[in-house]
């Protein structure tokens, strides 16, 4: 009797192992193909149906009208950084639940699984056209890229690492604002990141901030608008208050193109609107222009 039990148990164990192995395999498969579900996608501006694979090959730009789709952080790094030069820093942060929200942890776990990221922000040492710099990227697919304690800490660490290595910083922002689930702690990240930018700036180092769709709320009111040079992608939503909040407050419809990159360029809050195709070349040029000539 015991022997039978043992054999059953061992079989169970084996099966579990097999399952695990298979899971790993499937994980690797999904990991390699970074294609979201569904083969076709509709462009929100020109309403053309686009093949997703072609879209990815075209840097997530609509072939019809040049609309810039949102980009995952990993794709962004692949697109901007020289091949095989990105070394991620600051991993292993754990998001906690300071206000004991009842479904916050599950939410985070869900997004972690969906995006394969720890948090809505990754940064690391990288090279662009052979020039060293620190690149940070926010992922708007992770809880709308909202800034909680971990994101704030990692942004601060980005600047501290850059100070330590005397390197320029490039940050791609894409965020709905501070993360309300973490309450006051998220709010204080605004002060923390701004102070980090100030420290980096005092060392005489370059900080380029690239605003992508969408950059609003607490992120817009802290490190995103503090760059020495501020670039933006075409037609990105950039502003402090969201359009819906403004419409509710003033009780009238907003004009077309309000809070878009071109609007901000006209008002004088960003240096240039740069097409995604030219982004890498522009950043490389800026880095080159900021090389130290006089010691």
């Amino acid at each position: 009797m015991n022997k039978i039990k043992q054999s059953i148990n061992s079989r169970k164990l084996l099966k579990e192992k097999l399952d695990l192995f298979q899971n790993k395999l499937s994980y690797n498969k999904t990991h390699k193909m970074d294609v979201p579900k569904g083969l076709y996608e509709k462009c929100p501006t020109c309403e053309k149906t686009i093949n997703k694979k072609l879209n990815i090959q075209n840097d997530y730009i609509c072939t019809g009208c040049g609309h810039h789709f949102r980009m995952r952080a990993v794709d962004r790094i692949r697109h901007i950084v020289d091949r095989n030069t990105f070394i991620e820093r600051g991993i292993g942060y754990i998001t906690l639940n300071p206000l004991f929200q009842h479904d916050y942890e599950e939410k985070i776990a869900k997004y972690k699984k969906a995006t394969q990221l720890d948090e809505a922000y990754i940064y690391g040492h990288a090279k662009i056209h052979g020039q060293s710099c620190v690149v940070g990227v926010m992922d708007s697919y992770f809880l709308m890229g909202s800034m909680g304690s971990v994101v704030g800490e990692k942004v601060t660490k980005t600047f501290e690492y850059a100070i330590y290595k005397r390197l320029p910083v490039i940050i791609f922002t894409a965020s709905g604002g501070a993360r309300m689930q973490e309450g006051i702690f998220s709010l204080m990240q605004m002060a923390k990141t701004s102070a980090a930018v100030a420290k980096h700036s005092r060392m005489g180092l370059l900080y380029i901030s690239v605003l992508t769709h969408p950059t609003t709320g607490g992120v817009n009111a802290s490190f995103a608008s503090l760059g020495d040079i501020i670039l933006a992608e075409p037609n990105a939503l950039i502003g402090f208050a969201g359009p819906r909040v403004i419409e509710q407050t003033i009780k009238q419809k907003l004009p077309d193109g309000f809070q878009r990159s071109e609007f901000l360029l006209e008002k004088g809050f960003i240096d240039q609107v740069v097409n995604r195709k030219d982004m890498k070349a522009t950043l490389a040029k800026l880095l080159l222009l900021h090389q130290k000539v006089i010691s």
């Binding site: 991620e88 991993i91 006051i184 702690f185 709010l187 990240q189 701004s194 100030a198 503090l226 008002k267």
Partner: protein, 327 residues
């Protein structure tokens, strides 16, 4: 029963006295009032505190300034666009020490509220505040900020003039000053609009003030799609002075009389003055760089998170990097 209903009941009790002639009956009701204040008005929920922080009769920044520094002189304008009436700025002495005082002012009446834009500043207000703070830094004068705002104004003009940029710039510059900065949250501290003048060496809050990332109504409507659940949201968001003291976001709490600051304004002003001078005395003997590093150290600590301990895994960073993610 929330605090406003309790207040109405108290008023009804006080009205009863007027009709009575007998000394005994009056005394009896007076005792009842005292007991009511002691027992009922001190039991406050988070939502009660929100209501108190927004109370119409709550002392406004102007009254605080009148008491703290009778010789206050107001300075106007950001030198770029216009003067924002929702932020008051100027110089005045407190106990003989000249301070640069910056405050967000709510109106006491509806007309004043409209003129002050309900204490919701535009970018030019923040730029005025920054101008005055830079002036204070130049003349080595301590800075006092009084925070009382529902948030920065969300409007077309404000966005056109760069609300986000103005707030961000304030946050950056305020972390760099070497003069002492003391902040007091006297009513509502709403979101980035409040923080933009609140990066300080010492942050204090009145007992019934709130300091939050967004309004409880907004929180409830975003998370639960129901703005009427705001009382529950207020409880969950941990926005009261006591909670924030526990989180070590603020340094001290200024006590208020039972039922809120408007029951005894004089006492609140007195306590506030005491706390401000106390904080100032702690900061004045430090050197400038010490104050700068102190403030930056304080800011750097904000956050609630944990980092994985690599030592327990017996590998270095790069090994774990390889294991966790193969990109």
């Amino acid at each position: 029963m929330n605090i406003l209903e309790k207040e109405n009941k108290l008023k009804a009790l006080e009205k009863q006295i007027e009709g009575l002639g007998e000394a005994k009956a009056i005394e009896k009701i007076k005792e009842e009032i005292i007991n009511y204040k002691k027992n009922e008005m001190t039991k406050l929920t988070a939502w009660d505190k929100v209501l108190l922080a927004r109370h119409q009769q709550r002392p406004k920044a102007c009254e605080f300034i009148d008491y703290l520094s009778p010789d206050f002189m107001e300075l106007h304008g950001d030198r770029q666009f216009r003067d924002d009436p929702s932020i008051i700025g100027g110089i005045g002495t407190i106990n003989g020490v000249p301070f640069t005082i910056i405050a967000q002012q709510k109106g006491a009446t509806t007309e004043e509220n409209i003129q002050r834009n309900f204490a919701m500043p535009h970018p030019e207000g923040y730029r005025k505040a920054l101008r005055l703070m830079k002036q204070a830094e130049k003349f080595n004068r301590p800075i006092l900020t009084l925070i009382d705002t529902p948030g920065a104004y969300p409007g077309i003009g404000a966005e056109e003039r760069g609300q986000g940029q103005a707030i961000a710039n304030n946050l950056l510059e305020m972390s760099q000053f070497t003069v002492p900065i003391i902040s007091v949250v006297i009513g509502e501290g709403g979101s980035g609009g409040a923080l933009a003048i609140g990066v300080a060496n010492k942050i204090m809050m009145l007992e019934n003030a709130i300091f939050s990332i967004l309004s409880p109504e907004g929180y409830a409507s975003i998370l639960w799609k129901d703005a009427s659940k705001a009382p529950l949201a207020a409880e969950e968001m941990k926005i009261t002075a006591k909670d924030l003291k526990d989180f070590q976001i603020i340094d001290s709490i200024i006590p208020e009389p039972p039922g809120g600051a408007h029951f005894n304004k004089e006492a609140v002003f007195k306590e506030t003055k005491l706390s401000i001078m106390n904080a100032y005395n702690q900061l004045k003997d430090l050197t400038g760089p010490d104050r700068y590093y102190g403030r930056n150290y304080k800011i750097r600590k904000y956050g609630f998170l944990q980092r994985f301990n690599y030592d327990n895994l017996g590998g270095n960073d790069s090994d774990i990097y390889k294991n966790i993610r193969n990109r």
